[in-house]
Symmetry: C2
Subunit: 231 residues, 2 copies
Amino acid sequence: MPLQLLELCGTDPARRFSPSCWRSRMALAHKGLDAEVVPWRFTENATLAALGGKTVPILVDGEAILTDSWDIALHLDQLYPDAPALFQGPPETYRFIAAWTDHVLSACVVRLIVSDILPLLGETARIYFSESREKRFGMPLDQVTAGREARLPEFRGLLAPLRRTLGQQAFLGGALPDYADYIVFGSFMWARVVSPLRLLEADDPIEAWRGRMLDLFDGLARQTPALELAA
Amino acid sequence: MPLQLLELCGTDPARRFSPSCWRSRMALAHKGLDAEVVPWRFTENATLAALGGKTVPILVDGEAILTDSWDIALHLDQLYPDAPALFQGPPETYRFIAAWTDHVLSACVVRLIVSDILPLLGETARIYFSESREKRFGMPLDQVTAGREARLPEFRGLLAPLRRTLGQQAFLGGALPDYADYIVFGSFMWARVVSPLRLLEADDPIEAWRGRMLDLFDGLARQTPALELAA
């Protein structure tokens, strides 16, 4: 049986936009593995519960079911040791960049793009998403993203550690990408798929890295339909 | 010949306060190595030039002279492979946390403590430090640190990725410390040695980690004279 990856999408199953699902999709490709896309939409919780999970991504690999992107990456390194490692050292040494991505990068990206997600969703998912996120932010979603162009310089400033690193080497993993790259890239794919907003300036070393990431695996990420405006 | 480490101090050679020198001092201890402290003071640039360097730390290990903390760590792993590795994976995978430490952590710490450094310095060093830092910040140093207690909550907020990671595991390196821990710890030692200000709250997981770091190697860091006020 082929591998299956449950991935968040809206009405169009090709527009997969979850940052954590992108971590797993890129990790699979890194291992030379394909996995059938199983589109999953907000509120389809019975599907997750049947697999013992609460969120996507979920990977089904034969009898193994992994319900979290971190566990998926660990599983892939354990089961497919002949392919290049996702974790080049102990996985614990990748926890900090994952925490930075969640607490700094994604926490800022969401405030720049969250309202762009609504038009991609079917009615049931849209009502759920709108209500849950408005509650989280304490305001309508178009208010969360209002004036976002003016906030881009501050956002870009927060990326200084990433910029500095990618000014020194091609990938976070070194000369070649590893799971740290996929962790961070997931947040940029999220923005690229759902939003016309360009987060980075053309001459930013992070933008050059993003281009290299989009090109990986025969352009796997680049070929995904995206709303990002051309540069 | 014993190893020698040139380390920044003020009038008292025991009060070594440079964050990057602490990285190297802890890295040496991690390798089970002792190194003679060679006190170095601001403006003693001829000493550095004679060794081919421009800043401290500088490690003299027989014929090898390493003029940068990063190179010192690489050297120690290469020359002393039987001791536990400082870099558990490719050194490139530690670049991000080094960049975060420099551009976020230390960049904020300096604005909380820089004026506390002046009284530790002799007259020549004090004049140099005062002038060069006032130029950098565009204001007198006591103005840089003015109202610092009120800025602590914001500073602590910036540490979210570190807090999250150290809430999951004992050290950045996992169950045991590695060079990532020494990179970050250097900035906290800098503050501890020069300033009475307590940067962290008592129940912060980062504070618990800092306690573990202070205890390493028979309390190497804890025994260093410090101006930090007791909790």
